[in-house]
Symmetry: C2
């Protein structure tokens, strides 16, 4: 009685954990939530009431212009008429799935990659061709092998402080990836929610800014630099994609919330405010990241391997010994500590059995060490049991 895609509707681990995480006492390393204290400076500007009425499906012209300017400042050749305002970057994923995917279509993805992209692509019937990630970006041989197969509809990448791995592509790999996409003329879907959360001097130039022939869609969002509750994102794209994406947007929800659009326009158009805010966020998150790095060193040295990410919101741990990670999660939740198991970030969950993702932006800084200690103890118990 349902469409066959419903049998491909997977995974609500993340949502289940999030529902636990709403208990105020729960310490959650699971989500990718901004710090609550990061919202303190934000106020809702007055609105004269024009936002009450229906609006354009493509979004407010003035806001599209602002996003186009921001894209251009990053090197992307993108006019406002190529910018579509979306209800969060997640809606960009939904629109791209509708545009490109049906049963039998293959897409190229990083291994691991953003779980809600896997969910959406799989829902619409995609098959996956994954390629491995190294510390500075994709394994280029594997990447080219995926392109060589010739039937890949698009490549989905998150090159800056990727969710979940935290990896940031080097400038060289960004250029190499762009050159290969041009050579094979494969479309790039580039997701960039974390680029501004740069705690070092890592390169965050969008890969689509290097493309000469291949077509592209670039997602952005204000969820990390302003507030996710606004559900406001946008995409820029090759001109020929725009009319289709616009109609798909209209069919999805007519247009995005106009109050959010007004609020975001007011904030983004104030360059001083945004510069100050971005700097504050970087300091806040960098401090939390360093606290977590220190605690990991203390509690996890014998249990796991990881790299300290140059930006973003996550540590990505590979456990040295295999554990029953769902069972581990259950034990930790009972102790009031949540984390995100690695499985859902892989096209087949088993591949991620030894991984876990730890968020450092949302937990209160003074609770990070205690929470990691609980996690490490629970892992230790399970590893001992296995041995």
């Amino acid at each position: 009685m349902y469409a066959s895609r419903i049998s491909r509707l997977t995974g609500s681990v993340a949502r289940e954990i999030l529902s636990h995480a709403n208990n105020k006492d729960m310490l959650s390393f699971a989500g990718g939530l901004p710090a609550n204290e990061a919202f303190k400076g934000l106020k809702l500007p007055d609105d004269e009431g024009s936002s009450f009425q229906y609006g354009a499906s493509e979004g407010e012209r003035s806001l599209r212009e602002l996003f186009a300017e921001r894209f251009q400042a990053k090197g992307i050749d993108c006019g406002f008429e190529q910018v579509l305002i979306t209800s969060g970057a997640q809606q960009g994923v939904d629109l791209v799935s509708k545009l490109f995917i049906e049963p039998g279509v293959t897409v190229g993805i990083e291994k691991p990659t953003y779980l809600a992209a896997i969910q959406s692509f799989a829902l619409f019937g995609a098959e996956f061709e994954p390629f491995g990630l190294e510390a500075d970006g994709p394994n280029l041989e594997e990447f080219e092998q995926v392109l060589q197969k010739g039937d890949v509809r698009f490549i989905y990448l998150c090159p800056s402080f990727q969710n979940p791995s935290g990896i940031c592509y080097s400038l060289e790999k960004r250029k190499a990836v762009a050159a290969l996409l041009d050579e094979y003329e494969v479309t790039l879907i580039e997701d960039d929610p974390y680029g501004e959360l740069n705690y070092t001097d890592a390169c965050t130039v969008p890969i689509c800014s290097f493309l000469k022939k291949a077509k592209w869609i670039h997602f952005n969002t204000v969820s990390k630099i302003l507030a996710p509750g606004l559900r406001l994102g946008c995409l820029g794209c090759s001109p020929e994609f725009f009319p289709h994406l616009l109609k798909l947007k209209q069919a999805a929800d007519l247009h995005s919330n106009r109050f959010s659009q007004a609020v975001v326009h007011q904030w983004l158009s104030d360059e001083d405010l945004m510069a100050k805010r971005t700097q504050q966020l970087r300091s806040l998150y960098h401090e939390k990241q360093q606290v977590m790095a220190q605690s990991l060193e203390t509690h996890f040295k014998d249990l796991a391997e990881w790299n300290t990410p140059a930006g973003g919101l996550f540590f990505w741990l590979r456990l040295k010994e295999p554990v029953q990670i769902r069972e581990l999660l259950g034990c930790c939740l009972k102790q009031g500590v949540a984390f995100m198991p690695g499985g859902p970030f892989f096209p087949t969950e088993d591949e991620g059995a030894q991984f876990m993702r730890l968020n450092f932006s949302n937990p209160p800084v003074e609770r990070i060490d205690g929470g990691l200690k609980v996690l490490a103890e629970e892992i230790g118990k399970m590893v001992t049991l296995v041995v």
Copy 2:
């Protein structure tokens, strides 16, 4: 290079006209926009900042409870755990399409029906089984014939002041439709955006409140009683549909705007405010409707046939002589007057060639007569040319 559904992406007449309608001088009978003066009483309440963070995919518990109460007050047996907050009722249509439709699936629809539902269902590959509407609801013989075919996945209805026809089902027909749906065990998708805009004492009891066996999904929205720019709607549904719809919602946009949810909660929980507001809206729109009824009598008596609707936002006209309606629209737009051609409200546009939809809620009351005069003159010219 696109999914095959993209070849089924139709129609942007409505959006094209809306883009004209944004010119301040344009007089638009085309859209279904609330009156701008209807927003005067609305203010944004203060928010303590909790709405900035990510929220639950199903929506805020307190708002779901309020909508459940409103459903129960209308006779629908629906707990808050069956209520999903959506980004406008349009998102409900998108989620239902994803849940049920793939190429080869047949759905039963009113003829005419809401154009954006046709677009969404067709995008996902639906075939249509339409049944005719009479002044008091569906032609029951045709309706039963559609059910008898046995392969109809669901029936989509808008029983109260339907868009575009303005028809409101009688109590008898509501009960008869429910009994037939129960008999054939076919799922009902019931869209109810206009039920509160009742200018008479027409019956607006939801059909799903009469169902005993058939499953159902019921859409509601605050776009007509509060403000469409908030993009906030909700659906209630049979319990077994809920887990699927929730995951589909999560994949579509994670969750709906939390500021809109907070605002709508504050308004809907104030019963006196809402009672007063609904009464004011009814007076405002009823007056405009009566002005349009009078002007139609003056200018259209020889040109068209219509019924005065008992509620909602639209007059639905059948022209006595066939005209090239797209050409007519072009001429009228040049004169600064917009209307909505009837074609997109039918599964095949040609069937609607002699119909037009006129909105009376948005145009300034003092411009209605002048605008209709222009429309009538342009129609008169074209009819004369044909003769």
